[in-house]
Symmetry: C2
Subunit: 350 residues, 2 copies
């Protein structure tokens, strides 16, 4: 996507360096982080300079390619094995990361050049899948549509285009008139920070709303459709996504508003039957208790926004039963949330 | 309610001074503001040192009583008329304020003592109504109940006890084991700040949750009932309350969880037929864009928490259709949301 007139991906490789948009500084500053060695790329993953399923996978693939570039002749195998372990330890719950590391590791057995080529291929595939999701999703967007979204499933979470936001970018490209309601997405406010930044950057009309306002806007007929991303979609269509997705899906269902989940088919987990089997991560309460932002002097500062001495519960994701979902927008097309169709599309060759 | 072992109301009068808990400093500091003259009380209302329907009414009544105490012999009537105008101009949308000013104004025509007595009576009635709501509401709370609430409808919003929190205080008094989920209530975070402060102060087990988490906790069977306050309840039971109430009511309905609205019968507006007729206030976007809290040095600081250059929409209230409401808890008893019952209870003498 373009930033200040120049095309960027969230992560890319030039020579032996991996470059990433420094997402910890967004939305307040746009800077590029250069990881000269694989260990710098690991640092970027751990400190969330790069985040989001697709972007993480690509970054990990590039890190593995760096390992082959850096490996000394003496003790080469030990170096590579240890480095692979380092990369895999950065975010041990990110499936894409393991998948990418494995692919580049295999390619690297043939040659260093093949490792780099494979890492680039992983990034390209991610961008291409996102682009396809956008093309399919755009067909669902009517002229003058008012679209709600939750969290950030934009290009910052992938290599390019994103998932939930990709159809919106494609609609914009076609000069379709659209308007986006951006859920703040407490506690980490990825909507208010990243999605709003993306949309402003792409000059797409939008407004930030507190998460509390979505249901009322739906009741008042202000929202025509909702598109969100997914962390995991199980065999029956139940979908794990950022906390808050469920409440908004129920409200959409109640008011008859189409509710779409946009995700690459790699997000489907056919081995898990229903959403009840999904383990939900609980994160540190400090993400609820403190808020970081830009103070009046332009410095990043942190303030406590809750009553001192009270604890907070920080559940990272929720599970939306498939009955509330209108359809899945994938890189292979759009399907309704039916077990047969999910199995078919998830296993189909492109 | 007790704070540090001493009984407080949110607002009270001693001699010619009106005292108020300085709510702008909560939850970080507990201080009492003394308004020596009626004009200081107006200042306290305007700057939200005192807020909440019941507390505002009492403060305005006391301000009017101060006017009679302060009025000079020469030009007495003009002084009183001008001062009444000043008080009414502080928060022109607060119905309780006009009601209280009118009552004290009438009483003051007889004597200054009667004006002060009437102001005290208004405060006493508010506290007594809240107490009754607590007694009736407590009958609905089962042992080991996990109760969710939204915003702050506690004693800080009234003279004492509150509405949604009053049943919880009564349950605690009876040593019933309960647990409260406190919705953060973005954008002004009255839940995370005021309700959490109240519950911690009353030693009631609770935890703050982002507004996004309520539906999922309901789906997981973690919430047994929900009690919220109300800004206005119209003839058919549709209820205006803090933004976010609607989404939570729909989720509660979906999962079969009792959803109660606690409010004095003065909140019923029989002249308005349905919720569609309620005008909803839109507030300044800065309440969404900026967050104020305590920085690491213990100072109050403000940070921007959204992407610079993106606008935000700040709708203050929403309207929950009566079909999602299990019952109204009033000072005269509990009723289901039926038009006949609403009319009967709203017009019944106590």
């Amino acid at each position: 996507m373009k930033v200040k007139g120049k095309n960027y991906r969230t992560v890319w490789m030039e020579g032996s360096s991996v470059f990433m948009i420094e997402q910890n500084l967004l939305p307040f500053k746009f800077e590029i982080f250069e990881a000269k060695k694989y260990f710098d790329t690991c640092f970027a993953i751990t400190t969330m300079i790069v985040r989001g399923a697709g972007a993480l996978g690509a970054a990990a693939g590039y890190a593995m390619a760096q390992v082959f570039l850096e490996a000394p002749e003496e003790g080469r195998d030990e170096f590579i094995a240890q480095a692979r372990f380092d990369i895999e330890a950065t975010r041990p719950t990110a499936q894409n990361l393991f998948y990418a590391v494995k692919r580049v590791y295999k390619a690297g057995k043939h040659s260093v050049e093949q490792a780099v080529a494979e890492a680039n291929k992983i990034a390209d595939e991610d961008a291409e899948d996102s682009r396809s999701i956008g093309l399919y999703g755009n067909e669902l967007i009517k002229k003058n549509a008012k679209i709600a979204t939750h969290c950030n499933a934009g290009w910052l979470a992938f290599v390019d285009f994103g998932t939930a936001l990709s159809p919106i970018y494609m609609a914009k490209k076609e000069k379709k008139k659209i308007f986006v309601y951006v859920d703040e997405t407490r506690p980490r406010s990825q909507g208010a920070r990243l999605t709003a930044w993306e949309l402003k950057n792409a000059r797409i009309p939008h407004i930030i709303i507190p998460d509390n306002a979505t249901a009322y806007l739906m009741a008042k007929g202000k929202i025509d459709m909702m598109i969100v991303g997914a962390d995991r979609i199980v065999a029956n269509g139940d979908t794990a996504n950022k906390i808050g997705t469920l409440g908004k899906a129920i409200a959409a269902y109640e008011f008859g508003i189409p509710f779409y989940v946009a995700a690459p088919t790699s997000t489907f987990d056919l081995g898990t039957k229903t959403g009840n089997r999904i383990n939900i991560e609980e994160r540190n309460q400090d993400e609820v208790i403190y808020q970081t932002g830009m103070d009046r002097n332009g410095n990043i500062a942190t303030v406590q926004v809750t009553s001192p001495g009270s604890r907070a519960l920080n559940i990272a994701f929720d599970v939306t039963p498939s009955k509330y979902i209108t359809g899945f927008i994938t890189e292979k097309g759009v399907i309704t949330p039916e077990e047969d169709l999910i199995r078919e599309i998830a296993t189909k060759d492109e």
